[in-house]
Amino acid sequence: MAALGTIQTWAVIVLVVVGSFFLTVGTIGLLRLPNVYNRMHATSKPATIGAVAIFLAGFAYFGPGGAGLPSLIGIVFLFLTVPTGAHMISRAAERTGVPFLGSVTWPGKSDDD
């Protein structure tokens, strides 16, 4: 184990705990929410924040010289790709006829058709 300062150690611990918490929230939302679209919200936002917090823990642990920069690249990659994938799945769900809840409509469609 690398020699770490006290602040660095506590940063790693706090970020790992925060990341585990948000991943738990995302999984609970995936299990409990009623609809594909709502479940997508749970997996695309809290689970992404949890993974980003754990990436930040990796950055705090390895430092900017070694494997810290790949961690930052991972954060940027997650922020780019997770909304794209969620949008593509939700469009596929809407095309295959998964119903919305309540008065929700797809953007750009009126309520009648």
Binding site: P70, I73, T81, G85
Partner: protein
């Protein structure tokens, strides 16, 4: 340096917790009423596996596994896009007229 020995148990507990979360996501992937439900569950499993790779890199002090987590994230994105495209079009590679 009082907290130096605290990293390893915390990271171990986080790995066990995220693995259990993966099992719960697997419930949604098996049960999920529609096909997009299963895709969303598999996407969540992929995100959790990325987190596990980073935690494993911290636990074993091997920076290689951060790169492994990047590759896993890329594969997860590609598979999500491919399955969404397949569900929508019935085909993954569609020729333009």
């Amino acid at each position: 340096m009082a907290a130096d020995g605290l990293i390893e148990p915390v990271v171990n507990a986080a790995i066990v917790l995220v693995a259990l979360l993966n099992l719960l996501c697997g419930y949604r992937a098996v049960r999920g009423p529609t096909v997009p439900d299963r895709v969303v569950a598999l996407d969540a499993i992929a995100t959790n596996v990325v987190a596990i790779a980073v935690l494993f890199a911290i636990k074993t002090d091997r920076p290689l596994f951060v790169t492994v987590s990047l590759v896993l994230a890329i594969i997860a994105f590609l598979s999500t896009v491919a399955v969404a495209k397949f569900v929508t079009e019935g085909d993954i590679i569609v020729t333009q007229e």
